[in-house]
Symmetry: D2
Subunit: 335 residues, 4 copies
Amino acid sequence: MKSSIGVAFIGAGRMGLTHAQTLGNIAAARVLVVADANLEAAERGKILARAERATADIEAAINHPEVEAVMIVTPTDTHANLIQMAAKAGKAIWCEKPIALTLEETQTTLEIVEKAGVPCQIGFQRRFDPGYMRAKELIETGKLGKLESFRSLGRDTYLPNPAGIRPGGGTFLDMTVHDFDLARFLIGEVVEVSAWGAVLAHEMFAENDDCDTAVCMLRFANGVLGVVESARHSNWGYDIRTEVAGSEGKVVIEAPHKTPLQHFTGFQNHTDVYINFPDRFADAYRQQMEAFFAALQNNSTPSPGPKDALETLRICLAAKQSWQQGKPIKVQEAK
Amino acid sequence: MKSSIGVAFIGAGRMGLTHAQTLGNIAAARVLVVADANLEAAERGKILARAERATADIEAAINHPEVEAVMIVTPTDTHANLIQMAAKAGKAIWCEKPIALTLEETQTTLEIVEKAGVPCQIGFQRRFDPGYMRAKELIETGKLGKLESFRSLGRDTYLPNPAGIRPGGGTFLDMTVHDFDLARFLIGEVVEVSAWGAVLAHEMFAENDDCDTAVCMLRFANGVLGVVESARHSNWGYDIRTEVAGSEGKVVIEAPHKTPLQHFTGFQNHTDVYINFPDRFADAYRQQMEAFFAALQNNSTPSPGPKDALETLRICLAAKQSWQQGKPIKVQEAK
Amino acid sequence: MKSSIGVAFIGAGRMGLTHAQTLGNIAAARVLVVADANLEAAERGKILARAERATADIEAAINHPEVEAVMIVTPTDTHANLIQMAAKAGKAIWCEKPIALTLEETQTTLEIVEKAGVPCQIGFQRRFDPGYMRAKELIETGKLGKLESFRSLGRDTYLPNPAGIRPGGGTFLDMTVHDFDLARFLIGEVVEVSAWGAVLAHEMFAENDDCDTAVCMLRFANGVLGVVESARHSNWGYDIRTEVAGSEGKVVIEAPHKTPLQHFTGFQNHTDVYINFPDRFADAYRQQMEAFFAALQNNSTPSPGPKDALETLRICLAAKQSWQQGKPIKVQEAK
Amino acid sequence: MKSSIGVAFIGAGRMGLTHAQTLGNIAAARVLVVADANLEAAERGKILARAERATADIEAAINHPEVEAVMIVTPTDTHANLIQMAAKAGKAIWCEKPIALTLEETQTTLEIVEKAGVPCQIGFQRRFDPGYMRAKELIETGKLGKLESFRSLGRDTYLPNPAGIRPGGGTFLDMTVHDFDLARFLIGEVVEVSAWGAVLAHEMFAENDDCDTAVCMLRFANGVLGVVESARHSNWGYDIRTEVAGSEGKVVIEAPHKTPLQHFTGFQNHTDVYINFPDRFADAYRQQMEAFFAALQNNSTPSPGPKDALETLRICLAAKQSWQQGKPIKVQEAK
């Protein structure tokens, strides 16, 4: 096993700071530099990541000779370029999902990574949540029997910044992507999607050709049928629930109440709900990073990788196009 | 308020006996007769319903002068005819869902009932479950704000008798009908359905042109989007869950564990799940009957009525046709 | 099996009406008469019990030749006399707990019942709750291994009528009695009690030489140690929880949320708590009556019987005396 | 605010390694040295704590000039001596509970710490659990009204090493101490204890004049009554539950199921229980350390301190003596 790994951490926006803080507690990482075009942001990230220095020069950070791994949490439209740059520099890569919003750019990036032969992990953190990991284990050991159905629900607590809706690719690419990744993780490849969307809560989604409420049906290669629901806001907290049923049993992955306390008064019992993804998936964010560094130290292939990003993107695009065109779309025909 | 009401109870099959037993504990009812073409069955029903006598002559039971209300729990394909007979005889009617498997027969029956001016309630018992009633109240009093999404899941515990699959109309008409009725009860009218079905568990469904696993998307007149899932068997017990979300809150209707006991051992907590609809909806079955007799005693209109059966049937047919034709179907165009 | 059993129901106060309504739905009972010194109350009870008539003449009701079983829900200080009267008349007896507030009167009554050879069941309804029944079954089949500890908590929702505190015998005899009965039902005989009481909520308890808050320790004959807590009011609903732990496992008997609905809003999940014993133990009240009539029809001995009332009373008195004398009391030395 | 604080971490046994790992992720700490009389153990601790070096020379580690804070997780009988040594050296101190097993030694140590004027925090980690913190907040803001009752249950999963029973002081001092600390934290000072103990599971407790099962009653200065239960083993996982009830409401602090997954099969729902204190209180262990370093950085007094250790020890001793002497003991008279 290698000793600690030199890291360049790129991107110190809101999500970047969350990941920087997690990174600051990973013993296997030696964070050499936090880079952000905004130096002030980089300085904040440096403190949380316990990095040696901050910089606004992203390219130099990536190419620094002591840097062995590059972690990318920049805006989505820069992911592909930065992954390619890191791959060409021979660095291991961890990148927040997605690689890109188009199949072409994702495919190109995947090929460059594969050609470079560098390890590359994509940030689908739910795969590292103890609930989803246990679900996977029960499925793989046959405890659910022959799989029959899948359901995943996601509601983000807070509305996105209006300026970020279009660059994020819209609801299916930005949010439902996590449920589609779970679908592949737990059940297998999806062959067909039928999706409906609507603007029920906020006009800004309509103004950006997006929806704030969506439902989908999924048909899997193994015959399983599924449904997925997404909403862009929730006044009762972060709302994530996945169910998988088979001939022998069912699993439901949903966090029980957050604070280990029940408050009884007025003929009711009141319990706390998780606020948002940073608290609900705190463990998962940490475990996905530990898995990345463990893979580097053990010379094993980190997972999920760019191929997962590509296949999941196909489902996102199929869903978006199904909604836009008003008909089911075969996943392999999505563009 | 009238004193107790003379009842003829028709149909003493499996579901009939469940209803007969419930009826036997309804103080407002005086059960004059239990009728079933099979006299032996009628005799069993007589005991459970605490009836005065049993008979194989259904027509005479309906037309007996002391009978004020007729309760029909016969096979589906006889419902319409018996309702019509009872209506023409001027009797109040309670009938297990559905009225019929076609819009035409349902429409005709509805007209005859309306013309006769007799009270008529259809057996969508979930509307009387304390959970669904409370959900309705929270929705109507605005506690959920503007509604945004609906989800209903239903899995029956035991497989149907193969001989009953085709006469029951198949999964969408026989089972999902309850979820579609809830959709209308809680959210409002449905305008469009898209459904997929599959045979994943038992070939007998394929042999009867039916599916054992189904998913649907619903679009409501008020813009709400919904999903519905159905499965014809479950090895973990009766699996019924409905969710309604809006701008101000969410309700989940699902029974907590059945036995008020938790059993801890081996690093796990084990709790009981309801076996099937008779135990899960025992309260609802009783309350729907009490509501029927209360309506008769108060000269109010019982609900849900034949118009509900008709509108819910449209959704069932739209779902079935969507599945068969591989495209979304407008509910008002379903045939 | 006998056909339906002729019943005289005595006592139509608050608790009496609850039992009368339950009785009205017991098919095995033919309620001939409801008797209460207050005829108006008896008339109300008659309706709920679906009785043939009401009377203010309790003695005549008991002795009526068609009456086979007498059910007693009168004030506590009349129980012993009425049981004795019914026993001497050769009638089967069901009586609300307790038989009497003294060991002497209870013992005398027990002897008269035994001499008369009539069936006699005492109203410890919790034994018929599905949770407690399942706990008993798990214990008896060894699923908990060697028993080690017992805990029972009881909080009544509403304060008692001040005038009823002293005649009820105080907290230990009136309320904790149910927990002591559970202790015997689930674990076995209690040999020693140490109890503390306090008046924390309402001075009326002090004025009646009673406490409103109490804690006890129990030592069982088999070595198990237990604790019991009681409180006379609760603003969050009926609060009943029992735990039994052993070498192989633990059971917790507590009702999950009452309405099968969760209401999410404002980062909290809100669920309903049972209001009071009539809703929490509705099933148990029904099942204890069905068990009584089933025993009569099968000529088996109903349980729990007067011997249970006597042994449980010893624990109540030991607790009360322990509190009053400030020292542990051996159950067999309680007076 | 000071920058990172130089730490000497003393003691790398089982519990020491748990704390060392937590310390390794505390950004505010710079761990200079891990010391353990067993150098091999110290080396293991060094890795987990991310320390600069390991040593077998505890005294040198404490007195090292760059060390500002000493953390002590050695065997109980060495705590007082090490605290005194660190205090005299002018170092801030964090020490696992208890300070000592006697009031005299605890009092002496407390005086030395106070005289030295160094910050000193004792490891009652439950006070930092989000559930207990929220309970405290609800109590202090009056949400529970006037307090009336307290209950705390603790069952450790694994039996202690037989050799550690006597040095740990027995059940009341080693295990129940946490519940007694909670009692003081949530309700206030305890004035009287009555306790019973028994050996029901393992003879080794009898051989060490200890019990494996215990129950206590507590009387608080504010009149509240409480019960506490302790057991030294549990085959269903770590079993910790605390309840506080008042005139306006009740809180229950108990962790919901561990893995965010429900597994349904065979008419049951199966959920995971926490294995033991390291997983149940992982958050609390981290937060108590963060609170300690935050206090040092902010020059505020860390809490709970040695005075808490002293007052809680009095309750432990009162309970132990109550059990041994078979009578209630006033806390201020415990020796």
